[in-house]
Symmetry: C2
DNA sequence: GTCTATAACAGGATAGAC
DNA sequence: GTCTATCCTGTTATAGAC
């Protein structure tokens, strides 16, 4: 509790960080609408009005809380891509960035989150399409992306028993041929 | 406008129907939280308090609006199942029951919708698992279900360009091998 | 009495005063 | 940084119409 001794700028930085952490957790857990400024403030141990003071609006707080690092692009072939997708899936809920969960949680009900999701998924589709040969690369890339989204939603957000109780290697094993089938008409 | 001449019971039935239709549309469009009782009442051309009088709570209105007929069970083999899933997907947004869309729209942010979704998806998984051979039938069935959910979310709810601009037969053609790969390790 | 409309309350986001 | 006032929710209580 030596925060009183810190310079103003540093204290402000830490407070903002605490607020953003609390916001990420709550947004990821309950979505945009059910998350109240008051609850965020309580979780961060600050005055509710301070949150408004710092971020201006709940909208803007959300925007900064879910800001997610863009996917690092890399030229891979189709099989490597499948492996990478499967790898990303096997992350546990605690490890997967809360900001992504927060965005996914609200993407069906909050316009801003929907826009972010479309943008992020679009980038993912672009990246996949670049590594897939053929006329219909974009369609295949989009379907691969939606397959991963569906499985992630069922696993992380809906927490279906059928997916939660199964070791990730098992999921990966069953899912791999299905994703491979989407990379192209023939396994050259 | 001869409604005045109808018996009370009939008038009430129609008014309830109008309210439920309006609620379904709004819930499907904006989700549970962003749908206000007042907006539903306005769309149905009734007084807001009437909605409460009839349904008791927004929760109960939602419950009745999204009540969806259970999937008719049928013993099919794996390939027929894939065809059926693909067929269900090709329904356009206007044809797919609004009640299902309403439930899907809110399943990530509204606890009641989440419970309904788990139940409905669970039934779908059971049905699929019965038609799939092997130890891991339930896992495969769950993944098939989530694949369909992901594609549906991308298509109907997120309305991704990559899926909206493509004819359904095209989607079906690309998706079919991927679903087949989930029905079992070998195509007997 | 049953249906409909009005008013009042509690909790939320937000703007402005202090 | 904090407090207060305003507006919009869901919900309940109350009054009026048939």
């Amino acid at each position: 509790m030596s925060e009183r001794l810190l310079p103003r700028a540093e204290r402000r930085r830490r407070t903002e960080g605490r607020i953003l952490d609390a916001a990420r957790t709550l947004f990821a857990d309950m979505g945009f609408e059910r998350t109240t400024i008051r609850a965020v403030a309580r979780a961060a141990a600050v005055d509710p009005a301070l949150v408004m003071q710092y971020f201006g609006s709940k909208q803007e707080l959300f925007r900064q809380a879910v800001r997610v690092a863009p996917v690092p692009d890399a030229g891979l072939d189709a099989d490597e891509l499948v492996d990478q997708l499967i790898g990303a899936l096997s992350m546990k809920i605690g490890e997967l960035p809360q900001s992504s969960l927060a965005m996914m949680r609200s993407m069906l009900t909050h316009p801003e989150a929907a826009a972010s999701a479309r943008e992020l998924l679009g980038k993912q589709i672009d990246r996949l399409a670049d590594s897939i040969p053929g006329e219909d690369a974009r369609l295949r890339a989009a379907l691969m992306t939606m397959v991963m989204l569906g499985v992630t939603v069922g696993h992380q957000l809906l927490e279906l028993d059928e997916l939660r109780d199964v070791p990730q290697e098992e999921i990966a094993r069953v899912l791999r041929p299905s994703l491979r089938a989407l990379t192209g008409p023939t396994v050259s």
